[in-house]
């Protein structure tokens, strides 16, 4: 959990989650520090997305503890965790069909506004949230609606939307899936820039070659247990 003694930004201690008879997570402990990239891999069904669901609050039927700094966040739901700075992306992107990509980024910036005040805000589209995103290739998609995007474009927008929230902790579920060539390189560059800007990231990927050089830690989930892997 870190050799320098600093408290991790996000920390899970003894996280366990059972489905049916078997454990999908078995006393998993992991910490994410500011300005680091942590890689996570494992075979299909090993529990990687379940771990992200638990960390982000989408699944609170776990035992164990999740801390944001020194604050325990287990009782807190997913939208409040997002407002506290823990934002995740999805393996299958959950985008909004009728909104343009620009609207997606704007809504990411503004969604955490108090509900009552939101009802009085009419000219919300003028908030220029696209300046907050650094994902290359997304600018070409600004006018496209969520329903018109290809799967690779959806993954790009998914990640850009998470970044546009300004979160300090990003849980990225296969951000490089379906990306090739320039787009893949651009996404890797984006992850590097976010790390350099102090963001703590947990990245789930099956193919690590592009991310390993910048990774600070790497883990594999196997039979519910987290095993540390060498980063070289």
């Amino acid at each position: 959990m870190g050799s320098d003694g600093a408290v991790p930004l996000l920390q899970a201690i003894d996280l366990s989650r059972h489905y049916g008879s078997g454990p999908i997570l078995n006393r998993v402990s992991i910490g994410l520090r500011s300005g680091t990239v942590t890689l996570l891999t494992g075979r299909n069904g090993s529990g990687k997305t379940t771990l992200v669901n638990c960390l982000a609050g989408f699944d609170r039927s776990y035992s164990g503890e999740v801390f944001l700094g020194e604050r325990r966040v287990d009782p807190v739901g997913p939208s409040e965790r997002a407002r506290l700075g823990i934002v995740r992306t999805f393996q299958y992107p959950h985008l909004f069909d009728d909104f343009s990509v620009r609207d997606h980024l704007t809504l990411s910036l503004l969604a955490s506004s108090p509900a009552f005040r939101s009802y009085f805000r009419q000219r919300w589209r003028s908030a220029q949230a696209e300046r907050r995103t650094t994902v290359a290739g997304v600018a070409d998609l600004y006018t496209k609606r969520g329903a018109e995007l290809s799967f690779g474009e959806m993954k790009l927008v998914n990640t850009a939307r998470a970044i546009a929230t300004g979160a300090r902790i990003l849980l990225l579920d296969e951000p490089l899936a379906s990306l090739h060539g320039e787009k893949r390189v651009a996404m890797v560059d984006t992850i590097r820039s976010l790390r350099d800007a102090g963001c703590a990231m947990l990245v789930i990927e099956h193919v690590w070659s592009d991310l390993l050089p910048m990774a600070d830690a790497a883990y594999e989930l196997e039979n519910g247990n987290l095993q540390e892997l060498p980063c070289e």
Partner: protein, 283 residues
């Protein structure tokens, strides 16, 4: 012609406000709910009782009635906060029809016989009726349009289209559920009060479940378009009912025949709309 238009206004404006209330849920946050008739009944009866039994002034009773609609709408959304889909529809059906049955039973509301002498919102003449109806309708349409265009309206549509996506960007889903419930409750309350004031009489039959058919039909036929589309669709359906009544000349069968035709058309449109929707990745 003026008499017919004022009659149309009296029977349609209340339904139009209910259709707007339903559209706030169906087109907004994407929930199918059935409690709004119950909410409109509570507001309507409170307006009637405060004016008829307690002698309060019309503006004060009207304000209290709409406030009650807001509170009931809020409370109902709190009750069913964790439900979605068919569970939510069923639970709100229980609330709505249960309220209707309770109104039929409670003596103070006049039971099945209802209450007469409910004061009208303006002068009882064709032109003032038309004017009042138009003003009420424009206020309802304007409020709904402003809500749709607002940031809050956009966020509830995000919740409708992908709730997990909305949660992941920090949208305050519960807060929006409550406010949607309150806003729809206000519209539903206004609907019930207008209907009671328009006829000067209120009875529990005005709030039975089949009275949701026309507003729900207008909402579905509008296909998620503007509030003006919802209201336009509703007036078209009401005119259709009147046309069937006029052609059929038999009032006992005209109503059921109209309902059958509307139900069949709405069912077909609902199927077509849903089939056009792009399948989302699940899980």
């Amino acid at each position: 012609m003026l008499d017919f238009l004022s009659y149309l206004t009296q029977i349609a404006v209340g339904s139009a406000l209910m259709a707007l209330a339903l559209s706030v849920y169906v087109d907004g946050i994407g929930y199918t709910v059935f409690h709004l008739l119950g909410v409109s009944g509570v507001s309507a009866y409170s307006y009637a009782l405060l004016t008829v039994a307690c002698g309060w002034s019309v503006p004060l009773a009207l304000s209290i009635g709409i406030l009650l609609g807001v509170v009931c709408g809020w409370l109902c959304s709190e009750c069913v906060r964790t439900l979605r889909g068919d569970g939510l529809a069923l639970a709100t059906f229980g609330i709505g029809v249960g309220t209707f049955e309770a109104l039929r039973f409670v003596r103070i509301t006049g039971g099945v016989f209802g209450l007469a002498g409910v004061p009208q919102l303006g002068v009882a003449a064709p032109v003032p009726i038309l004017a009042t109806g138009a003003v009420v309708l424009l206020v309802g349409i304007g409020a709904t349009a402003l809500w749709r265009r607002s940031l809050g309206g956009a966020i509830v549509r995000c919740v409708q289209q992908d709730e997990w996506g909305a949660l992941s960007i920090g949208a305050r889903v519960e807060g929006h559920q409550r406010l949607t419930g309150a806003f729809a409750g206000a519209l539903a309350g206004a609907s019930g009060i207008y209907a009671a004031a328009a006829t000067g009489f209120i009875e529990p039959r005005d709030f039975r479940p089949t009275n949701l058919l026309v507003p729900l039909a207008a909402t579905i036929l509008a296909c998620g378009r503007t509030p003006l589309g919802v209201v336009g669709g509703l007036f078209a359906i009401v005119l259709f009912f009147q046309a069937v009544r006029f052609i059929g000349q038999d009032p006992t069968t005209a109503g059921p025949v109209s309902e059958i035709l509307v139900a069949v058309v709405v069912g077909m449109v609902l199927v077509l709309i849903r089939l056009r929707r792009r399948p989302k990745f699940d899980g």
